[in-house]
Point group: C2
Chain length 215, copies 2
């Protein structure tokens, strides 16, 4: 693997390549040219060639890329060549949606437990996974070697919970709470701030309207 | 407003400023220095001064920024100085989570309707908003002047639904389906590809592990 020379910009594009390659693989496609991939992904063929050249000589003129090989190579770089143990904190609507999303398991993210403070839902199940009380959280994380915690609870509780997670060895937090989590070095946080995404959409829409009024 | 000179990088940071300024405003904070804001947001004070200088002379040495004024100014740039009419397509767990999120209404995104194909849920309500059948969608979008559609349905149906939306005058789509939507110029799409976010987390976690093994 030559990933050390891969720039951050290319890395940021890998999940999208991975998605398209995964779909092609599922459809039984074995080879694809940069031109075909370009049409599919709405990216220039030269960008694709540049990006995928980082992975060695997969693309050959008039031959195309080996879909399955490229898929596996990118999977390895993304850490998808082995499974990850996941828990979901918060069994509200968002927690339900995330815990019930079949694509995560398909990619090797195995949901091992769901936690909530609401006594009304503790003991019930989502897709066969039991909802547990927060008291069980610390031991569960340690004993089951949980790598990733998904935080889908109100922001007032999120910081406290993230501290418990970190103390018990969690390595990554996928954060849906609307707050920045203070974590020590070595712990990865990926924020999904939905409101910020909506504001970006609102900004772009506003710009389009102004353009149309001017035009 | 001087927004024309504001770079894309600054614009991308505005939603985060807006979030922090909104919280300060809610707490009754009237002024804040770039140093205090820097600590709060984990961004350098010089970055903050550079970014916020685009909005004119709000920051004064030893005085700080007027929180409310800056909040309103950013709100205007983000298109939040007026309300937007929203619909949610898909009343599954994710649709429920999005339709039930109180922060959106607070920012002026008013959910006017929810649509689903499942006869079992049509007619029931989420937070007082009726779930309607997809047959009602085209007329509803036109009559109620819906600006934004949230797409929270499986990807197989998403492209077809986006076409119906566009034909009936939708201006922006907030897309949670795992597919790129082909829309004409002038229609804004903001994608939230959750799997890609999880893959990014997985990549970063893998890099951390390698770093720790090497270190």
């Amino acid at each position: 693997m030559k990933e050390k020379q891969i720039s951050g910009a290319v890395i940021a594009r890998l999940p999208r390549y991975f998605r398209f390659l995964g779909e092609l693989k599922d459809e039984g496609v074995e080879k694809i040219s940069s031109r075909e991939l370009s049409k599919l992904m709405h990216v220039t063929a030269s960008q694709i060639r540049q990006d995928l050249n980082h992975f060695g000589g997969f693309g050959q003129q008039g031959y195309g890329y080996n879909v399955s090989f490229l898929y596996d190579e990118i999977a390895q770089i993304l850490g998808l060549d082995h499974t990850h143990n996941l828990i979901v904190i918060g069994a509200g609507n968002l927690g339900h949606a995330l815990a019930g999303y079949p694509n995560f398991e398909k990619r090797g993210f195995l949901i091992r437990g769901i936690f909530d403070i609401n006594p009304g839902c503790i003991g019930s199940q989502i897709r066969g996974i039991k909802i547990r009380s927060m008291e069980e959280l610390p031991e569960f994380v340690r004993v089951n070697r949980i790598d990733i915690a998904v935080i889908a609870i109100p922001k007032t509780a999120a910081v406290g919970v993230s501290q418990i997670l970190v103390e018990n060895g969690i390595r990554a937090i996928w954060n849906f709470s609307h707050v920045d989590l203070p974590v020590p070095e070595g712990v990865v946080v990926e924020d999904v701030h939905l409101t910020e995404s909506l504001l970006k959409l609102s900004y772009n829409m506003t710009q389009e309207t102004k353009g149309a009024l001017r035009g």
